[in-house]
């Protein structure tokens, strides 16, 4: 009896102490303070400073420059290179996303069968994911290079003219999409595999009883239940594809001219080679906006689909 009393009063005491403290403690802000500080210092502050630079004619190194209002923005919208580069960026972002998802889903469906070679295949397809995109770019460079490239070795073997795909502006953006897809299709595959394995067999058995065909089962059961995996894959791939940088540097360096430049590499080029930092920053703002709009609309669209399904 005495014991319970004391225990109770102690508890009451701590309770009131906690209440007094609650105002400051309720957010537990000190737990995310280090994260906020790092992200602010290394991302948000530099980004905001970048926006400020987009209103200047800074050349990227001089200590002096002028504020010129929206001139760089006007220039950006009038510049044909802007649209070429935006087009490439969308191709890299959306093209790789579509390919990675279709092929990744295909691979996942195949490997969802109990095959003896399943682990081997999965391992090999996933392997490029862990290799630096820069190195992957170089490896594919050995493949596509005009002089002594592996592809042309085959062409020559069959008595055909060697081709130079990396310098052809009509082709090389697609090569970049291909290499990026090849490298990251493993991620999509794994995520789809996990999604497939979480679908209960009962659904398929029910469909079998209804006499559904394989395609009907895929459409009515598999796809809707995979919606969460699809959302993750699409959003991840779009953001990755739109920011593409290393692979382009390794394969074409954005060339010839600006033909295969993405917004990342273009911006890089403007900053450092063209002495056009103000303009580069303006392109950076456009890029952030494009990524924001596309990834957010994809996210919202697919989340809605998830709910419907």
């Amino acid at each position: 009896m005495v014991q319970t009393l004391t225990k109770g009063s102690v508890r009451a005491k701590t309770e009131s102490k906690r209440k007094r403290k609650k105002r400051g403690d309720s957010s537990l802000w000190w737990m995310y303070l280090p994260s906020v500080l790092i992200v602010f210092l290394f991302i948000i502050f530099p980004f905001l400073d970048g926006i400020r630079i987009s209103f200047t004619n800074w050349n990227g190194f001089s200590q002096a420059y002028d504020y010129i209002g929206f001139d760089q923005y006007k220039r950006m919208f009038a510049d044909p290179d802007t649209w070429l580069v935006v087009k490439n960026t969308l191709l890299y972002g959306i093209g790789s996303t579509i390919l990675q998802n279709i092929i990744g889903l295909g691979y996942a469906l195949l490997l969802n069968h109990h095959l003896k070679v399943r682990t081997l295949t999965r391992t090999i397809i996933y392997l490029p994911v862990i290799i630096s995109p820069l190195i992957m770019g170089y490896i594919w460079y050995f493949f596509f290079a005009y002089n002594g490239g592996a592809l042309n070795d085959i062409f020559i073997l069959f008595g055909m003219e060697p081709i130079n795909v990396l310098s052809d502006p009509a082709v090389n953006p697609y090569i970049i999409v291909f290499v990026n897809t090849f490298q990251f299709v493993g991620i999509a595959m794994i995520i789809y595999l996990a999604g497939l394995q979480s679908i209960s067999k009962d659904y398929y058995e029910a469909a079998n009883i209804d006499g559904a065909s394989a395609w009907q089962k895929f459409k009515a059961v598999t796809l809707p239940l995979l919606m969460p995996s699809i959302t993750i894959n699409i959003v991840l791939n779009i953001i990755g594809g739109l920011k593409l940088f290393d692979v382009i540097v390794a394969l074409t360096n954005g060339g010839p001219g600006n033909a295969s430049q993405s917004m990342s590499t273009f911006m890089y080029n403007l900053y450092f080679a063209r002495q056009d930092a103000g303009y580069a920053a303006t392109q950076g703002v456009l890029m952030a906006l494009i990524i924001l709009i596309i990834s957010m609309s994809a996210l919202i669209y697919f989340k809605r689909k998830e709910v419907e399904a």
Binding site: W30, P34, N57, N59, G60, F61, S62, Q63, A145, Y146, N147, P162, N164, L166, S167, D168, P169, T252, N253, G255, P256, G257, N258, A259, N269, Y271, F272, A273, R274, Q275, D276, A277
Partner: protein, 417 residues
């Protein structure tokens, strides 16, 4: 109270995690660490730099030089470093000593070697106030280099005019049945196209009296349609397959190897290329010629100026030590070694360096030396568009007229900065 302790424990452990890997390594106590960044690009050039740095460190054990060679990325890095006022203690000014880099250099005019400086170098590296911005390690004498063995074999004369040059290229193609690349450019690197435009702009727009646009270029009134000729000719060469097929993806470093295999006749590479090629294949001799005239009645010219330089950053912590290094490499025997290692003429009056191309320089003795076109007549920052428009022209995304338009736009923008 507990919370504060918690936070401090956390932050301390975080600091320890970071600090455990914080030390940037090399160098014992009491050593001065100098940073050096050079534009040396080929392996031969970098090797001689490294060798000389090592020799210096041996003589001066208290100084440790951290040398780096970002090659293609040099200009990019240098710009970022300027923006942050963080240039290395010793850096290369690659033609921009008195303009782009002038705010960041230390005056070297009171150093010993200044009095031994080649008179041709002095005006390029000194500004109106008499400030000497950098030490020139060697001089460029750029023209067009060629595989002499191959030309001799085909009995092709060294061209004396631009038209003869194109004719020689066609002859190479014909006589080799298309096996030999007449003019090879390592165009994965834009600067190879830049080199073409920059060198041939001199005979087109500067040296011929009747076609000289020096004033217009300098006062901003230049009409860029006068530049279109070079783009047209480049396009013509490409259309006639006088350039390598992989001109847009070939790496510059492949050049010497192809020359050594007798697969290439002419290149826009200079200096150490000769030594490198003969080193790879002793049976191949290289030759060099000045840039041929384009207009009738004009004479050829070497494109000259400082090649590798070293300037001392004026905010360096170790100016004295940096100067000590320059003093070291300005000694006649080291300067000779440097010049020979890079296969370029030295820039001091009391040094006699042997040079791979010496006989050719002698053969063309008296030929005028012109500065790099873009360094003198164009605003800083034109080098990239010059090369990039060349790439786009060859890729077929720009017409020769559009090349000139683009150059004109960039010229106007960069002048207004």
């Amino acid at each position: 109270m507990k919370k504060t302790i918690g936070i401090s424990v956390l932050s301390i452990s975080a600091m320890m995690a970071i600090a455990g890997c914080g030390g940037s390594g090399s160098g014992g106590e009491g050593q001065v660490k100098l940073t050096l960044m050079s534009t040396a690009t080929t392996k031969a050039d970098q090797d001689i730099f490294k060798e000389i740095v090592k020799d210096f460190e041996k003589e001066n054990p208290d100084i440790d030089i951290e040398d780096s060679y970002p090659s293609d990325g040099y200009e990019d890095l240098a710009r970022v470093k300027m923006a942050a006022n963080d240039l290395p203690d010793l850096f290369d000014t690659h033609g921009w000593a008195t303009s782009r880099y002038s705010e960041y250099t230390e005056d070297l005019s009171s150093m010993d070697w200044a009095s031994r400086l080649d008179p041709a170098m002095e005006p390029i590296l000194t500004d109106e106030d008499g400030k000497l911005h950098a030490y020139p390690i060697n001089q460029a004498l750029d023209g067009v280099s060629y595989n002499k063995t191959l030309l001799d074999e085909y009995g092709i004369e060294v061209p004396a005019t631009f038209d003869e040059f194109i004719a020689a290229l066609e002859e190479v193609k014909e006589k080799s049945n298309g096996e030999v690349v007449p003019l090879w450019l390592g165009g994965a690197d834009k600067s190879q196209f830049g080199q073409y435009f920059d060198q041939f702009a001199t005979p087109l727009l500067i040296t011929d009296e009747e076609n000289s646009y020096e004033e217009e270029l300098l006062d901003g009134s230049f009409d860029w349609s006068n530049y279109t000729y070079l783009a047209e000719k480049l396009k013509e060469m490409n259309d006639k397959e006088l350039l390598n097929k992989d001109v847009l993806t070939a790496q510059v470093t492949m050049g010497p190897e192809l020359l050594a295999q007798n697969k290439v006749a002419f290149v826009m590479l200079n200096g150490s290329v000769g030594r490198e090629v003969t080193g790879l294949n002793p049976d191949v001799q290289m030759g060099t010629m000045p840039v041929p005239p384009i207009h009738e009645g004009d004479s050829p010219s070497w494109i000259g100026g400082e090649r590798h330089t070293l300037a001392v950053a004026n905010n360096s912590e170790y100016k004295e030590e940096a100067k000590q290094f320059i003093e070291y490499i300005a000694q006649p025997e080291v300067a000779k070694k440097f010049a020979e290692g890079t296969s370029l003429p030295d820039a001091l009056t009391d040094v006699e360096a042997d040079n791979y191309f010496a006989e050719f320089y002698k053969q063309y003795e008296g030929t005028q030396i012109q500065p790099y076109f873009d360094r003198l007549y164009l605003p800083s920052g034109m080098w990239d568009p010059m090369g990039a428009t060349g790439q786009e022209l060859v890729a077929g995304t720009l017409t020769p007229e559009q090349v000139s338009d683009k150059m004109s736009q960039e010229y106007t923008r960069l002048r207004s900065e």
